[in-house]
């Protein structure tokens, strides 16, 4: 008796709203960053120089490429090329994992130097340095969590595509998931210069 409810435009509308809430979530952290930077410009630049820019650069490249591959996955699905879609989804998830592994090594090195939230080493540093690293770990940690969530979503949608539940006629789910992944990428595009480059 139930009539099928389907509204692709509505689904996209809802997704954009949700992405907006994610932006606001991170905006609180940008606010904190701005305030701390205004208060401790020198400490911030000192601390920033202690980050390893190579890790950050590699991760930027990895994430940008993954955004490309997921965008291509959507187009491939629209053209009905399921197999290619699956390969491109797989590539995206793989790149997401590379991002996380890279992050793991970066953080291990920093933790090895005694730099982590609440460490004695940080407590002895100038207040701005501690603020920088606390924000760094919190913000990038939250971003990393979003990478995990995004990767999981893509995996689930890929499985649904393989099972024929997401097809060239009903691709909104993949499209929305891709939008989410683009957001994760977009936020990184802001985090990378703020923490690694401009100071």
């Amino acid at each position: 008796m139930s009539i099928e409810h389907r509204d692709d435009t509505g689904a996209r509308f809802g997704m954009w709203l949700f992405l907006y809430t994610e932006v606001i979530l991170f905006s609180g952290l940008f606010l904190l960053y701005a305030m701390a930077l205004a208060k401790f410009p020198n400490d911030f630049s000192n601390a920033s120089h202690r980050l390893n820019i190579y890790f950050g650069t590699v991760n930027t490249l990895v994430l940008l490429t993954s955004s490309l591959s997921i965008a291509m996955a959507v187009t491939a699905l629209q053209r009905g090329r399921t197999k290619l879609t699956l390969i491109l989804c797989g590539t995206t998830v793989f790149l997401g994992i590379v991002f996380l592994i890279n992050k793991y090594f970066e953080w291990s090195a920093e933790i090895g130097h005694g730099i982590y939230p609440g460490s004695h080493h940080l407590a002895e540093q100038a207040p701005g340095v501690a603020a920088f690293f606390n924000l760094y770990f919190f913000t990038l940690g939250l971003h990393g969590l979003h990478v995990v969530i995004g990767g999981t979503l893509i995996t689930v949608v890929a499985i649904m595509t393989a099972k024929g539940k997401v097809t060239s006629e009903r691709y909104t789910l993949l499209e929305n998931t891709a939008l989410y992944w683009h957001l994760v990428d977009l936020i990184w595009i802001f985090l990378f210069p703020l923490y690694y480059l401009i100071l």
Partner: protein
């Protein structure tokens, strides 16, 4: 549909699954609405008992029934429950879910599964909040605002309480997102923006606030956990952080949140008043747009909570000015309700009594808000009992009474039975009188200088505190009579037809209780406005 007339029970009966799973896994907006209704009502009762305990402690100076620490924990848990578990979800999540899709002529919300997830987020939040009282090293004692530095240092169970609030925020965001999409996409044919019932308009404005503001509290709460677990010190002045920044981030959400609380209440009142004055609502577009104006202007005024915490004079001036601006759309609403009543043939049925007392109590609370919005008087009144009186007038006298109005107005629709009117009026009278005796003395005490969140006070405050405590008993009696009456009505009241009040909005054109897909096979086509009472007659019951 095969039911005969005598055994008809609408969405209560139909459904894919039987029994309890038919509820817990249901994506029907009406079932989810009923589940919310049960939960928020339960939380209200728990919170009210804590409030009564607070009042009991304040019946005499000195320790009376609890220790100072218990008092701190009690007002914190009372506040957390009332704010996050009762008043924010109360009307939008329960009555919004029950009614909004029907009112716009849709079969369900845009994302029924997300709707159910949102309910589960609410449940997780509720469970965490309750666990935080009993586990760890004691119930949270920071007040519902979780102000730093105390919230990052106290050894009580803040983490769980904060995570509870986080989950509840998530639930609120999902509901808002769902409502926005539904109102944009699923209106029936002929349901133009100019024919939306005002309750839907207020839900629409509320949903924007939910979506835009709630993530801010989310990140703020996560930061508290981060501070507590890692000792990061982002809000700790000694370590380069800034405690005032916490207050900004908290109120950037929490001030707009008071509009999440009050706007849907105003929507309910805008539905009830025209029906019982038998007149179209005065100034439809002014009412619709003032909801958006309140939501917009209300997002700019958070600073008025911090006049005393250290702000530049310029900032104080600006926030004070903006606060006064919000009063304009609120006043438009009050004046339009009054204009609707003018020369109406007013019928004092129970929902109407609650609606009228809403106008009265909300006006007192709102004017008190102006007193607090003016920096000079605020410096004197900040953190006194006046603030407690003010926000109870607005939240309880406002939204709480609107919630009761909604219960009395729409329960017959969803249960198909009517409660006893005489008892409803008695309950209302007890509550209205008790309410004013409870909270008016608090405002006076505040002006006299009694601080809030203190469990002891100077002897000169004794009489008014006693009046207030006795008032709270009268109010509690009223609440008891009301809930018993409603419960009995639901179980065994007189059956009612589709339209017991003579309303003109869509929900009154379908059977009581509504069938599962609301309108059967044919989607409705709307041909007239929501307050066009020509030819609408109330059913006998």
């Amino acid at each position: 549909m095969s039911e005969t007339n005598s055994s008809y029970s609408g969405f209560w009966q139909q459904g894919q699954r039987r029994g309890i799973l038919g509820w817990l896994l249901s994506t029907d907006h009406k079932r989810i609405g009923i589940m919310y209704l049960c939960c928020v009502t339960t939380m209200f009762i728990v919170g009210a008992c804590l409030g009564l305990a607070l009042r009991l402690e304040l019946i005499a100076p000195g320790p009376t029934v609890m220790s100072a620490q218990t008092y701190n924990a009690t007002f914190t848990v009372h506040g957390v429950i009332m704010i996050f578990l009762f008043i924010i979800p109360s009307i939008p999540a329960s009555f919004g879910n029950l009614l909004m899709p029907i009112m716009i002529g849709a079969r369900d919300v845009s994302f029924p599964k997300v709707n159910l997830i949102s309910w589960y987020c609410y449940i997780i939040g509720a469970v965490l909040a309750i666990l935080s009282i009993f586990t760890g090293t004691g119930a949270p004692d920071t007040g519902w605002t979780f102000y730093v530095p105390f919230s990052t240092q106290t050894t009580t169970n803040i983490d769980l309480a904060v995570m509870a609030a986080f989950m509840l925020g998530f639930s609120s965001i999902l509901t808002g997102l769902n409502f926005l999409t539904t109102i944009h996409r699923l209106r029936a044919k002929g349901m133009t923006w100019g024919r939306l019932p005002l309750f839907v308009w207020t839900l629409y404005a509320t949903a924007w606030v939910q979506v835009l503001a709630t993530p801010m509290i989310g990140i703020t709460l996560l930061l508290i956990v981060f501070e507590r677990v890692f000792g990061a010190g982002l809000f700790d002045a000694a370590r380069g952080g800034d405690p005032i920044l916490y207050q900004h981030m908290f109120w950037i959400y929490s001030h707009p949140a008071v509009y999440i609380m009050i706007l849907p209440g105003m929507g309910v009142i805008s539905e009830v008043i025209p029906v019982f004055a038998r007149k179209p609502l005065f100034g439809y577009w002014a009412m619709a747009l003032s909801s958006l104006a309140i939501a917009f202007a209300g997002s700019l005024v958070w600073g008025h909570h911090m006049f005393a915490s250290g702000m530049s004079d310029m900032a104080i001036l600006i926030f004070s000015f903006l606060t006064f601006i919000v009063a304009i759309p609120s006043a438009i609403k009050v004046f339009n309700w009054v204009s609707t009543l003018y020369k109406g043939s007013i019928q004092l049925a129970p929902p109407m009594l609650y609606a009228l007392s809403f106008i009265f109590l909300f006006s007192i609370g709102g004017l008190g808000g102006l007193v607090l919005g003016a920096a000079a008087s605020d410096i004197h009144l900040t953190d006194t009992m006046f603030v407690v009186g003010h926000f109870h007038y607005v939240m309880f006298g406002g939204t709480g009474f609107a919630f009761f109005a909604a219960l009395h107005y729409w329960l017959p629709k969803f249960f198909g039975r009517m409660y006893n009117h005489k008892r409803a009026v008695i309950a209302w009278a007890l509550m209205f009188v008790g309410f004013n005796f409870t909270y008016m003395p608090m405002q006076v005490l505040g002006v006299m200088g009694m601080p809030r969140r203190y469990y002891d006070y100077l002897p000169q405050f004794t009489t008014l505190n006693q009046v207030s405590t006795v008032g709270s008993w009268v109010m509690a009696l009223g609440l008891l009579v009301m809930f018993v009456n409603l419960w009995k009505g639901i179980r065994s009241g007189t059956p009612v037809g589709p339209n017991p009040w003579g309303g003109a909005t869509l929900e009154w054109q379908i059977p009581s209780p509504p069938p599962i897909e609301n309108f059967g096979e044919e989607d409705p086509v709307v041909t007239h406005g929501p307050y066009d009472f020509k030819g609408v007659v109330a059913d006998e019951y």
